[in-house]
Subunit: 302 residues, 2 copies
């Protein structure tokens, strides 16, 4: 089976991870953490979200974080934006790239964004246009691409249709979110078999949560199908506030371990990631949820 030689890991911990942490993390701690992530060799970090603070109080300091981090050359610092107002604030913070987001499930979209899918598309279109006019690249997130906590399994054809609309708007990359972490590789295979005839492998990224422990198996299947970009969160942070019981993102260090052992290059240093993870453990005052951090803690004790 042919695997890619090189993979890009997109770190979403500071956004997708922290937004689901009930414990408020200070701006200084976030900044110090992101600066450590920048030193690990990651080329892409989603640092925050410009969703209204009413919805995600944890990230109310979005602009401040974006302004206070140390920008390392070669690293893209991205932020999630829900609409024009969010985009304005992100641009004021001099974001490198913005992400727009919606769901493949009508119910999940309604609960998450408070709009129908049909009403969401024009809002995103405006954001994409404005962002591009401001010289920024735009990434799209499409969530619940395999299953929705309310609607159950999602038809790949529905994902394909919305993916087409998002591409039409001019996004540079589409991240397919397995938001609730229930997928198995045969479902990922079916989704990608539906999409790949119409979308380039380079246009698609996979975003797996790990509620059921299947995320790395799903990553492997995606690799075999030619996908070379994966989202993950250091320490497996994360979840979804609108998807009950959903656990965190696949842990960046677990993803890195598997890729490294398979001989796939990422440019990311495990030692530096573990260092950044240990820092966040000390901030949160609890162990992070990844196998590599577990191994590291055990070896430290022994």
């Amino acid at each position: 089976m042919k695997l890619p030689n090189k993979v890009t890991i997109k770190e979403v911990g500071p956004r997708d991870g922290l937004q689901n942490e009930s414990q408020q993390v200070g701006t200084d701690n976030k900044t110090a953490w992101i600066n450590r992530l920048s030193e690990s060799g990651l080329s892409y970090i989603e640092v925050t979200s410009f969703v209204h603070p009413k919805w995600i109080p944890q990230l109310a300091d979005a602009k401040e974080v974006l302004s206070s981090i140390k920008r390392k050359p070669g690293v893209t610092y991205a932020a999630l934006v829900p609409n024009r107002r969010g985009l304005e604030r992100a641009l004021e913070g001099n974001v490198d790239e913005v992400s727009v987001f919606m769901s493949a499930s009508e119910t999940h979209n309604k609960k998450n964004i408070n709009k129908t899918i049909a009403d969401t598309l024009p809002v995103l279109k405006e954001v994409v246009q404005d962002a591009k006019a401001a010289g920024k690249s735009v990434r799209g997130y499409l969530s619940t691409v395999i299953a929705c906590p309310h609607e159950g399994l999602i038809e790949p054809e529905r994902v394909k249709a919305i993916a087409g609309e998002l591409r039409e708007m001019g996004i540079e990359e589409l991240s397919l979110g397995e938001t609730i972490g229930v997928a198995v590789p045969s479902q990922v295979e079916r989704l990608l078999e539906t999409l790949l005839p119409d979308f380039s492998e380079k246009f698609l990224a996979m975003h797996f949560h790990d509620t059921r422990g299947t995320a790395l198996a799903n990553v492997w299947k995606s690799l075999e199908m030619g996908i070379t970009t994966f989202d993950s969160a250091l320490g497996g942070l994360g979840g979804c506030p609108y998807a009950k019981g959903a656990a965190g993102n696949v842990a960046t260090e677990d993803l890195l371990y598997m890729l490294g052992a398979a001989g796939i290059e990422t440019g990311v240093s495990m030692d530096k990631l573990i260092e950044a993870g240990s820092y966040m453990e000390s901030v949160l005052g609890k162990p992070m949820n990844s196998r590599q951090m577990e191994v590291y803690r055990k070896v430290e004790v022994e």
Copy 2:
């Protein structure tokens, strides 16, 4: 990709799981736990080990456990035996099937069994002959088939040579143990590509530990290559006393989740497994290490 319709899960928690638990579990608790496992639909349970109690004090009550469990028709109750003396005791306990074991790594074999590989083979041959003379079927375990904590990566050809010796002795099935839980699917693929031209898929079982989080990905790759028997331990119990830092077996309930979601039959009930897992959590006084148990505990709280 063609997957099998049906898979056999062999539960090794009472042996491979418990042998690495530092906290002594009472015979009554073991028996009650195994009886719960019997009710889950599992068709095979490795209930204990007849290794000398000096080495594994946790399983010193091997014969007692074997004698006190309630035997459910259709379930095979197996035990590990290291030598003739162990076999005698297992037969006194009326075991259904015995397992013999050795390592593909010379160093690991030496540390685990205190013999060279060459000196181990005749000992196992005696056990296999005697067991078969007593009308019992015999399973073989070959450990460190991908990597050894002392020697590093193990060549598939070495595994193949020893597997051939074990088959020659007359074992009915060979369980290939990824003892330290570091493998990734490309390594599993290479191992199976080496073995499958000479060994039937039905003769081989895969036994994954999950130290690095890759066990389910490795199971998936094995499924794709035609393997239909997998070892696992409820709650991800286990490890290896002679392999530093090695974590538990892949959790039975996580394996079951993945197989179920992929439409593969096992005959095992998730509810009953979770019930058995909850029971063991109460005995051990700590949470068990599986995603399904985590989800279950979360939902209970919510």
